[in-house]
């Protein structure tokens, strides 16, 4: 088999530093050659013996030093194996092409005023233009096209493919490259076509999978150094827990290289944090600052590149205070039972069992007065918490098991200040009718049916539940939209009236005397809405188009734009000074796992060495 060595590439060429061991091996062998010196008067006899056994054959002479050769070859093979060689070649023209566009959260990073996803789309379209008469499939790393990764089969209809590419939307989740490749294999009937991966490959696992995949062409998008971003900036003030306001900041490096930057936090005009930070690949910096509760203002976090303070890299804005109650997220493995299981009662006490024994603990009241106490057990109380005993006041104590969520489920992947705890309550009680006077109006959502909001003495509370273990709700792009809706509901005056973005809440005053109104969506779906003091609050604005609001006497129209770039689901806001260009294309095909073969050779050599030692052949000198 002819091998063109010029096409061999090494993944980790640093492994060749192992070759430095060769001089060491030679030195050790030389050292070992220093034998016991014996002075003999019968040297001439020994000389005769030596001349007799001295091999005439060069090969046999070489075999006498076989040990050193074996060691040198072992190190050589090992270093080549660790260097991970692969064989690159040009793509044969008769193959199918699958274009895999990364639409994960990190692709929303804006560089030169364009998101990485847009750049990836442009690269894909460019690719299609060059690949005429090819059978092409377009897929994404995260569900995108009508809730699927890909639409249809391989086709050579360029127009159709272009349309598909343009319809790809940004996802707020991390990519699952393995699943994406599996899908392509499935469509390709288990024969892997040539895959063009267009994306930033930010996750380590993605980079590794891509490297190990055959027939893949990686078109990198984006500058790795731009992957540092402020993921979360939040403020919370819970007097029951802490008298101070807690500001929490989460900065994450999405990329695969370490990045340094300067982080600045301001509250109003006051600078509350100013420090250089360096984050390694895929690492995050999560910290909290405590401020006096009365301090208000606009909280800003900025990442500054070097000393260039002129660039406004504001990552997130939170206006404090909301002057409202806080959002509570209760994750339950049995979401449909949560409402009925919540026994609304005052003065509830919990016995918490830990390794140290039982401990009486008052539960945190999240609501006040009429709605009673909504309780939850904060896992922070005790790391060994496993069982909670609740006395609802009837003289019976029930034990409930706290089910631990897997670590990756506890934290929202994008909105990282939201953490999920799991608290399973098994008893079912009917909700007392006395609660009717409290305005609990469900915000219905196909994805999230158990959302309850309430308002009590001007303070609003939202409870929404879902199965954090099984449901993919938190992974949905609509999840942050939902949160935004809730925030908007809290601060209803900020809601725009008739020109909304998808997910924005529509708020309008209709008529004080009306109880209900209905909203006709662009897809002709009719939603009946209960009016609150004549106000309509409507949140199902995911579809773009014209919405019609009708009451008895009044009719309103409002529109929802459909511009994904303006969607507020991005984890980060654009950073103007970022520069990113598509790097050179790397063609890897087919990936020959030579390291395995080489390792096997090294193993055989080791076995030979063992045999040599065991047999003691040529042990003449």
């Amino acid at each position: 088999m002819f091998i063109d060595l010029s096409r061999v590439r090494f993944e980790t060429p640093y492994a060749f530093f192992l070759l430095l061991l060769i001089p060491v091996i030679i030195a050790i062998h030389q050292f070992q050659r220093e034998r016991m010196l014996i002075k003999s008067s019968a040297y001439s006899i020994w000389e005769e013996v030596f001349n007799e056994i001295k091999p005439k054959n060069t090969l046999v002479q070489m075999l006498r030093n076989i040990l050193i050769y074996l060691h040198i070859f072992f190190v050589l093979f090992l270093s080549i194996a660790i260097a991970n060689p692969h064989y690159t070649s040009s793509i044969p023209s008769d193959k199918k092409i699958a274009i895999l566009i990364d639409n994960s959260a990190s692709m929303s990073t804006v560089e030169d005023g364009v998101t990485r996803l847009e750049r990836a789309k442009s690269a894909a379209i460019e690719l299609i233009k060059n690949g005429k008469n090819r059978s092409i499939l377009v897929s994404t790393t995260v569900d995108s096209i009508n809730g699927r990764r890909f639409d249809g089969l391989f086709t050579d209809d360029q127009e159709k493919i272009t349309r598909r590419i343009l319809s790809i939307t940004q996802s707020s989740s991390s990519e699952n490259i393995d699943k994406a490749l599996d899908n392509i294999r499935l469509v390709g009937k288990n024969s892997l076509p040539i895959i063009y991966y267009i994306g930033d490959g930010n996750r380590k696992s993605t980079a590794k999978t891509l490297r190990m995949t055959k027939n893949i062409v990686i078109i990198p998008i984006g500058n790795e150094k731009n992957n540092l971003g402020i993921i979360n900036l939040s403020s919370r003030f819970i007097p029951q827990i802490n008298k101070k306001r807690e500001i929490r900041v989460l900065v994450k490096n999405f990329g695969t290289v370490a990045v340094s930057n300067h982080l600045e936090l301001t509250l109003g005009k006051r600078n509350i944090f100013n420090r250089d930070i360096t984050l390694n690949a895929m690492k995050s910096l999560d910290f909290a600052l405590k401020l006096p509760a009365g301090e208000t203002g606009v909280l800003k976090a900025r990442l500054l590149n070097g000393d260039n303070y002129k660039n406004d890299n504001t990552a997130f804005h939170i206006i404090e205070p909301l002057n409202l109650a806080k959002v509570t997220v209760v994750a339950n493995t049995y979401p449909r039972n949560i409402l009925s299981s919540l026994r609304i009662q005052k003065d509830i006490a919990v016995d918490v069992l830990s390794e140290k024994g039982f401990k009486k603990q008052a539960l945190t009241g999240e609501l006040e007065d009429s709605i009673g106490v909504f309780y939850r057990v904060l896992p922070d109380y005790d790391p060994f918490l496993s069982t909670v005993f609740i006395n609802p006041g009837f003289g019976r104590t029930k034990a409930y098991r706290v089910k631990e969520l897997p670590a990756w489920r506890r934290q929202h992947p994008i909105v990282e200040n939201i953490s999920f705890s799991s608290f399973f309550v098994g008893n079912i009680y009917p909700v007392p009718s006395t609660l009717a006077k409290v305005n609990i109006s469900p915000i219905l959502s196909a994805e999230m049916p158990l959302i309850y909001s309430s308002e009590n003495k001007g303070k609003k509370t939202v409870i929404f539940t879902f199965d954090a273990e099984a449901a993919g709700l938190s992974m949905q792009p609509s999840f942050p939209i939902l949160l935004r809706r809730i925030i908007q509901w809290f601060n209803i005056n900020t809601v725009p009236e008739n020109n909304l973005n998808p997910g924005d809440i529509f708020h309008a005053y209709l008529d004080k005397n009306e109880d209900t109104a209905y909203v006709l969506s662009p897809d002709s779906k009719k939603n009946t809405i209960k009016l609150i003091n004549g106000n309509i609050i409507f949140a199902e604005t995911a579809k773009s188009g014209i919405y019609r609001v009708k009451s008895k006497d009044k009719e309103l129209l409002f529109s929802v734009k459909n511009d994904p770039a303006e969607s507020d689901i991005s984890p980060k806001l654009p950073r103007n000074n970022l520069v990113g260009k598509a790097k050179k294309w790397t063609v890897t095909e087919p990936f020959v796992e030579t390291w395995k073969l080489l390792s096997a050779c090294a193993f055989v050599l080791l076995m030979c060495e063992w045999w040599y030692q065991k047999k003691g052949i040529y042990a003449l000198y």
Partner: protein, 289 residues
């Protein structure tokens, strides 16, 4: 060497002095020079100045001419002991071949002196190094001891050169030559022995080897260096090699033995592990054979 035990051992050997001779009978050692012994050799015409008492008057009566009776001159037997003092005879071990050779030389000298022979000693390596002139005095044994004490090992062995060097010396008296050596001489030994034979010596060979020479104890990876030089060999000594060595050494000894047989040279193989007394007795047995 001059310790009591050794001297006692020598005393034991003195009884053989009366029975022993060095290749030729004592008294049979007749010089070619004409002398005053009782043995008649020839007649010689009288010349003026000759001793009148040597004239055979009876012959004069028969042939009416003056003739002198010529008698052979009876001389003492000279025993020359050659001790190899090269590096190969030395070593770090207590009982070196050189020490053993010295003991043998002392014993032989002692016996020779007891037998009223004159004894001279020579140490050699690549040439004759030290010489103890011949003497037949009984007190000469003290000088023999002192001479032997002062011999130390050094230089390379060259028997050929040493013996050539010896026979070329002026005033060398022939007699019995006893060479005590290991005979590990790179240039060989045959020429040297032949020199002595041709010079008229009755040559005796005692080859002294140590047990380490005969059966080396080394095994495994070793570097064998020539004790007399800088040449060295790196060997992984195993049983096969030791057998080969033993075979080669035996062949070497056999060669020496054959050579001695060919030239009618008494040969004795000695091992330093043997008691020197036993070796001396063996030596004289070989002599009388």
């Amino acid at each position: 060497m001059k310790n009591e035990a050794f001297l006692r051992d020598l005393e034991k050997l003195s009884f053989i002095a009366k029975k022993i001779n060095f290749g030729t009978r004592i008294g049979d050692s007749i010089s070619k020079r004409r002398g005053n012994s009782l043995e008649f050799v020839d007649y010689k015409e009288y010349n003026p100045g000759d001793e009148l008492r040597s004239i055979d008057w009876n012959l004069y009566g028969r042939v009416n001419k003056l003739y002198l009776k010529v008698f052979s001159e009876e001389v003492d037997l000279n025993v020359s002991v050659f001790i190899d003092s090269s590096m190969s005879m030395g070593g770090k071990i207590k009982e070196t071949k050189l020490l053993y050779a010295k003991k043998l030389a002392a014993a032989i000298s002692y016996i020779a002196l007891k037998s009223l022979n004159s004894v001279s000693l020579f140490s050699f390596s690549n040439s004759i190094e030290n010489v103890l002139p011949p003497s037949r005095k009984q007190g000469h044994i003290e000088q023999v001891f002192d001479f032997l004490e002062n011999i130390s090992s050094g230089n390379k062995t060259n028997i050929n050169e040493s013996m050539k060097n010896f026979v070329m010396r002026k005033g060398t008296a022939t007699g019995v030559a006893i060479i005590i050596s290991d005979f590990f001489s790179a240039p060989g030994y045959k020429e040297g022995i032949k020199y002595l034979i041709h010079k008229g010596f009755v040559v005796n060979i005692i080859q002294v080897l140590s047990p380490e020479d005969k059966k080396p104890s080394m095994i495994g990876k070793v570097r064998i260096q020539d004790i007399e030089g800088i040449s060295a060999l790196s060997l992984n000594v195993n049983e096969i090699m030791l057998r080969k060595y033993s075979k080669k050494l035996n062949r070497y000894i056999d060669d020496l033995n054959s050579f001695c047989t060919m030239y009618n040279v008494p040969y004795l193989h000695a091992d330093t592990s043997m008691h020197f007394e036993e070796t001396v007795l063996k030596f004289f047995r070989v002599q009388n054979r």
